[in-house]
Structure formats: C-alpha cells, structure tokens
C-alpha cells in the first residue's frame, strides 16, 4: 500500500504539539506570572530554559501556558462551530425547503464579512475575555461548517441506503443523525483540521490586537504582542511563540491534507 506521508508526519507533529499544549494546562517549570526584578531579560540558562522577559517572568513557562490557552480556546470554538454547523447543515441538507433557503442565505450573509472583523464588533460589545472570545468566534465558525455538512447531506440523501431506511419506516431524524451523519465524517474531519487552524489564527490575531483574552489569562497571540515590545532584547521570546504557533498549524494542516488524500475528500 502507498504510504501517506502527510498523514504520518502531520499526525506525529499534531500529536507532539497537542501534548506540548496539554502539558501547559497542568504544569509549568515556574509560575508563568511570577515577576522577578533580578531576572529581567535573563539569558537562557538551565534554570530558565528560554530566559526571562521584561518583567523577569520565565519565558518557557509562559509559552507553555499560552499554548494551553490557545489550544483550549481553539478547540472550544471548533466544538461550537462544528456541533451547531452539523445540526443546522444536516437538517437543512436533508429536509431542504424554505427553511433551508432562509438559513443558508443567513449563513451567506455572515460568511460575507471577514470573520475577524465581525468578531471584533462582537467583542467590542461584550468586552474582552476568554469566554466572550470563544462565543464570538464559535458563532462565526458555524456557517462554514453548516455549508460543508449540508453539501454532503444533499449528496447522501439521494443514495439508495437512505431510501431503503425510509422504506423500513426509520424516522427522519434518526436517518439524519444515525444513518447519514457517520458517512459525513471524512468530510467533517477534513473541515475540522482547516477550522482548527483558522481558529488558532483568529484567536491569535484578536488577542494580538488586544481584543481577545485578558492579560491575566494570556494566549500565544497576546504574548506575541508583549514580546513585540522588546523584540531586540529577547528575540527568542517572539521566535519561540511564533515557532509554537507555526508547528501547531503546520502539523494539523498536514494531517488534514493526509486525511483528504486518504479519503478522496475534496474541500
């Protein structure tokens, strides 16, 4: 059998980054927000693997913490977008009709705006903070998933196995969620990898702009805006943050590519 290197490398890298991010949820070598005047701009050393920032905080610990925050936010955004998109897209695709036309027009309208811009507006109304950010981005992620899932349901609903289920008297909702849904997983999985990367980038840009998370709950994007302030003194801070983000996105992107070539899914 042909070896799928995208799948292997992407899977391995994603797993590695996932573990890295998850570690930050439970453990960091130092308290990531402990200030120490003596360690300001400290160079990398055995005690501080990546040195310290302008306030003497351990950079390695901060990156771990930021990665964990970014991961949880991205996953939560994805969960909202995917679950709602799945239900909406599934029902619209299977039942069609006027409700479908209205809902899809609405999705088009939302998707027509740049999502970060829309999220900006929502955040301006609700204020900064992790949960507001998750809500704003999550809602904005619904249309793309709904569209993806709907397209797949439109294709599947005319297949004979669905007709056969109808003849047997299986209820329409059961056909949608039990019979057809599992057959949309390859497409959904590929959509999830794209969505994950978009979520990471959206979270990073918004937090970088200062309208995402709060300073008490920093993410990779927020830290990057900090690191930018003393780019010349500790360039490795920004470098390490960027590297973490890039590897995370690269791994999941490759994984998605691998899934697509494995299952023959297009988008």
């Amino acid at each position: 059998m042909r070896k799928n290197w995208y799948l292997r490398i992407g899977g391995a890298l994603s797993l590695l980054m996932l573990i890295f991010c998850a570690v930050g949820l439970f453990w960091t070598p130092h308290d990531p927000s402990a200030i120490s005047a003596a360690d300001r701009y400290a160079l990398p050393s055995p005690a501080h693997l990546f040195g310290c920032d302008a306030l003497g905080r351990d950079i390695f610990s901060r990156v771990l913490q930021g990665a964990a925050a970014t991961l949880t936010i991205a996953l939560a955004v994805l969960a909202i977008g995917a679950v709602c998109g799945l239900v909406i897209g599934g029902l619209c695709g299977y039942f069609g009709g006027a409700a479908d036309a209205i809902v899809m027009r609405l999705c088009d309208a939302i998707a027509a705006f740049p999502s970060v811009l829309l999220a900006l507006v929502v955040m301006a109304l609700t204020g900064a903070g992790r949960y507001h950010l998750i809500f704003a981005l999550g809602v904005l992620f619904i249309p793309s998933f709904a569209r993806l899932v709907r397209g797949e349901f439109l294709r599947q609903r005319d297949l004979d196995y669905v007709k056969s289920a109808r003849l047997m008297g299986v209820s329409p909702l059961r056909i949608v969620f039990v019979h057809i849904l599992p057959n949309t997983f390859p497409v959904l999985l590929s959509g999830l990898t794209i969505g994950f990367n978009n979520a990471v980038l959206a979270e990073a840009s918004m937090s970088f702009l200062g309208i995402g998370v709060t300073p008490q709950d920093p993410s990779l994007g927020y830290m990057l805006s900090e690191a930018q302030g003393y780019l010349l003194k500790t360039p490795w801070y920004a470098g390490f943050l960027a590297l973490t983000t890039i590897l995370l996105i690269l791994g999941v992107g490759l994984l998605g590519e691998g899934i697509r070539s494995e299952t023959g899914v297009e988008a």
Binding site: L159, D160, Y161, S164, A165, L167, M168, G169, H179, P182
Partner: protein, 242 residues
C-alpha cells in the same frame, strides 16, 4: 377473487421542474396477484426503476391511481454498493428494520437477524463486517435479508443480479425462487435480461420509453411476441445465448 398486491392504473410520472420537467412514465397500468412474480423488462432508461420507486412512494411527481395492499413493501436496489449503509456493520443494518418496527428486546433482534442471515446464506462471521468487506453477491444477500426481516411479503427487486457475474446470478436467482416458495412472497422483478425473467417470473411486462407496450404470461410472450420492441428484445437475448 383475492385482492391484488398492488394495482396501478394510468400512472404518469415526471422528473425535474418547470422547463426541465421530463415525463418518464406514460400511462402505466399494471397489477400483481399474491404469490406471483411479475417481471418488468426494457432497455436502460426506459423507466423501470422509476416505476418501482413510484409503487413504493419514493417518487413524488406522480399522477394516476395506485393502491398497494401489502404492508411495508420493500425494495432490493439495483446497485448493491449504494444500497447498504457503508458506515455500519451488516449486523447493524439487519437489526435496524427491527428497531424501526419497534422490537425493543436486543436478544430477540439478534436472534431474528441470525435466523434471517442463515436463510439467505450468510454466516455469523459476516455480521460483524462492513459492506465494503463483502463481495457483490454477499451484499445482495444482505439487501434481500434486510428487505425480508420486517416480514414484508411484497418485494420489489430492481435488477438484483445485474451487477453480478453469471454463476452468482444463478445462485441469487435460486435463492429468490426458494424464498418466494418458503415465505409466500410476491415479486416485482425488474431486469433488462429476458432470460433472467424467464427463470423466475410468471408474468412479464415489456417497457420502452416509459410505456408498457405488452404484458402477459411469460410463455405467451416468449412464444408469440406481439409488439416489435418485444421481438427485438427476444432476438437480442437469443443472439446473446447462442
């Protein structure tokens, strides 16, 4: 006189809407008696599958009168690769009609599935597999079992053997004939192959361009075809056999 399994009179059916609307069935009148096997033959695109779907209520744009007197008629579809849910195991696929029929007891369902699998010649080992890991013949056996498991007595078979090679065709046809005897089934059997219809059916209707041009006892049609199209079909089928 007993009630017919189904009787259709002057059925017309269309696909598409507006300017795209295209008539597929024209004035089709047909009925089926209990215990009978009625063949429908015709070339590709003549409307055979559409007729089958009309009888089962799977096509919406229909005019004419239709009564079906058999509860939960079932269909075995033309393509055994599309008619079984690829995400589920054979065991699940066979259990689902029982769940839909309200059989709550899991053990009872499993027992029924095993009985039915044995009846169509599937082994226990097939039940845990997904359709992708079955041969075409095995898939068609699963489709037949699924059609029968709710106890339906009227089965529409849409070219159930066309996708199979000749030895498998003979096996499945024998299975169908055997099941019909044992369970007292009535078939509407669709095929483009007159020889196959001859083996299984009592009566045959010949279709072309969405119309039924001739129907009657299989032997009569074979020995004394009236319509030119039937003669052409017969000649073609003899040429293939010879």
């Amino acid at each position: 006189m007993t009630e017919p399994i189904f009787s259709a009179a002057h059925l017309n059916s269309w696909y598409g809407r507006g300017r795209e609307r295209k008539q597929v069935l024209r004035d089709v009148t047909l009925s089926l008696s209990p215990g009978e096997a009625l063949g429908v033959v015709g070339e590709s695109g003549s409307g055979k599958s559409t007729l089958a779907k009309c009888l089962l209520g799977l096509v919406t744009d229909v005019e004419g009168t239709l009564t079906v007197n058999s509860p939960r008629p079932q269909m075995v579809f033309q393509d055994p690769y599309g008619s079984l849910n690829p995400a589920k195991t054979v065991g699940w696929i066979l259990e689902e009609p029982l769940r839909a029929a309200g059989v709550k007891d899991k053990n009872q369902r499993r027992r029924r599935v095993e009985e039915m699998a044995a009846l169509v010649g599937l082994g226990e080992e097939h039940l845990s597999r997904k359709p992708a890991r079955l041969s075409g013949g095995q898939r068609q056996r699963v489709a037949i079992a699924a059609a029968l498991i709710q106890g339906s007595r009227f089965i529409v078979l849409d070219e159930p053997v066309s996708a199979l090679d000749v030895t498998l065709q003979a096996q499945i046809l024998r299975l169908l004939a055997d099941l019909k005897e044992r369970l007292g089934l009535s078939y509407l059997f669709i095929s483009h192959d007159l020889a196959v219809v001859y083996q299984l059916c009592d009566r045959v209707a010949v279709m072309t361009g969405g119309e039924i041009v001739e129907q009657g006892d299989v032997d009569d049609i074979y020995d004394h075809p009236q319509h030119d199209y039937t003669k052409k079909l017969l000649a073609a089928s003899l040429a293939l056999d010879g």
